[in-house]
């Protein structure tokens, strides 16, 4: 689970560093990933790889649309109002999903076989291996994109100094768009790989989004490694709590972490306006 939190948190981190906005619709990208892939596989009967690609494309388009329809027209607004806009957008997407797909949790078939296998003396579901494999790959890809390509460098440049970036010809609006597209596609992938384990439901984005946020905040919204550590730490703490205390406390752990992080970080999160 920690890996999923890390990937969801990655979306938060990317958008935050580039635009200064915390995108609370991040969890909804994850939900859309789960629900859209559910529909494509179960209702349309598409083969898994095709459904996977289509889902990424569709959810990325939603991310792009979200940026064009809500963030771009309100560009003059303060970051706080933009954050509130993303909360509104999240509610909107969730409501539409609730209407379209109904409120029941849907079972999504795992990628390959539903049995568990013995691994280092413990039994793990094969889907969990998919989760780990795909998230590792995804993080690696995002790392390469950010650090080795020109678009990644320009995203970083815009994050470091948006004025200077505009003076070398980097359009802040394009960078904002790219960051939303990237966050939406990584979110969609997280939703797809987790759905066979957690079921897909219209409101799965709430908890996953929240935990991703906690992972990102634990990493200080700084970079890939911070959010990875944050996600893994949260996942580990959750399973420890479930194992030693009671699985009823699993979600409470995230809340405790959230509270702690907000207490420590509240000043630089809310107070920090974009330079």
């Amino acid at each position: 689970m920690g890996a999923i939190y890390a990937v969801v948190g990655l979306g938060f981190t990317i958008i935050y560093t580039v635009t200064g906005v915390i995108n609370f619709a991040q969890g909804e990208f994850v939900m859309l990933g789960g629900m859209v892939s559910f529909s494509l596989i179960t209702a349309l009967g598409l083969p898994l790889p095709l459904a996977f690609v289509l889902t990424v494309v569709l959810v990325t388009l939603v991310g792009v649309a979200l940026n064009l329809l809500t963030i771009r027209p309100a560009r003059q607004a303060s970051n706080i109002s933009l954050i509130i806009i993303t909360i509104g957008a999240a509610l909107f997407i969730r409501a539409i999903a609730g209407l379209g797909w109904g409120k029941n949790a849907q079972p999504v078939p795992p990628f390959t076989g539903s049995e568990t296998i013995g691994f280092l003396g413990a039994y793990v579901r094969i889907q969990s291996l998919w989760v780990i494999g795909i998230t590792v790959l995804l993080v690696l890809l995002v790392y390469l994109l950010l650090n080795r390509t020109l678009v990644g460098k320009s995203l970083k440049a815009a994050a470091i100094n948006s004025r200077a970036a505009s003076l070398v010809g980097i359009d802040a609006r394009t960078m904002s768009l790219v960051s939303f597209a990237l966050a939406a596609s990584t979110g969609a992938i997280a939703g797809m790989v987790i759905a066979p384990i957690s079921f897909a439901s219209y409101d799965m984005g709430v908890m996953l989004g929240l935990k991703g946020f906690v992972a990102a905040a634990m990493g200080g919204f700084t970079g890939i490694w911070g959010v990875l550590l944050g996600g893994m730490g949260l996942g580990l703490a959750e399973s420890l709590a479930a194992g030693y205390v009671s699985s009823a406390y699993k979600d409470a752990i995230a809340m405790v972490f959230l509270f702690a992080v907000l207490l420590i970080n509240s000043r630089n999160l809310a107070g920090e306006e974009k330079r």
């Binding site: 080795r148 390509t149 020109l150 678009v151 460098k153 320009s154 970083k156 440049a157 470091i160 100094n161 004025r163 200077a164 970036a165 505009s166 003076l167 070398v168 010809g169 980097i170 359009d171 802040a172």
Partner: protein, 265 residues
Amino acid sequence: MILKVDHVSVAYGKLRAVWDVSLSVDSGEIVTLIGANGAGKTSLLNSISGLIPARKGAVYLGEQNIVGQKAHRLAKLGVGYVTEGRGIFSSLSVLDNLSLGAYSRHNGWTTLLGDVSWFMRRKDIRDRVDYVYGLFPRLAQRQRQKAGSLSGGEQQMLAIGRCLMASPKVMLLDEPSLGLAPNVVMEIFGLLKRLRAEGMAILLVEQDAAASLRIADRGYVIEMGRIVFEGTASYLINQDKVKQAYLGQVWRGDHQTPAQEEAES
């Protein structure tokens, strides 16, 4: 004239920072804009480069009126701007800073997904990097180093080098000598002369009027957002009022700027 500023005014809310300013810069010419703290120099450069909108007036780049265009578009059209405080990308390497300087010369999405080194493989851009390294050999030695770890002078050189990567038609420089040792300032001013010889149009904003009038061809003196003197550098140096106010006298940092007084009243 490469750059022509035509009756431009800039305001922040009710506060007028630049008032009805006209000036021009031709290629192969260093023009200096001098004035005290808060006179409106930075505001004028910001509006020429598209960072902030001009309230009134026009700015011509060659024949084209560029007023109202955004900074990232103007970077593509040929306005280069080295800001006060340099604005380098401190956590990126020197080479990355330079390659991003040529960002406006890429075409389309395909290049964006390319590796930076792949982008640099373009002959014209590679040549441009070599040209900048030729101007500042110290940057070549430090090309893999993080830009933030450079000394102040080297950072200023990087900022100028990054600006040159786009092959601008006109360069705006805001107090490039600020906080630098005299020998580094000499080096940078020497470079500006070399760029002038290569035909660059340079608008140099300085508080150190004596130094900048020595290398400039022409100059403008700005006070309270208005141009109060203009002429050739040798003319300005010999003007009594300019001498009195801007030359041979150390600035008191604490005096109130006229614009601030206006704001308070």
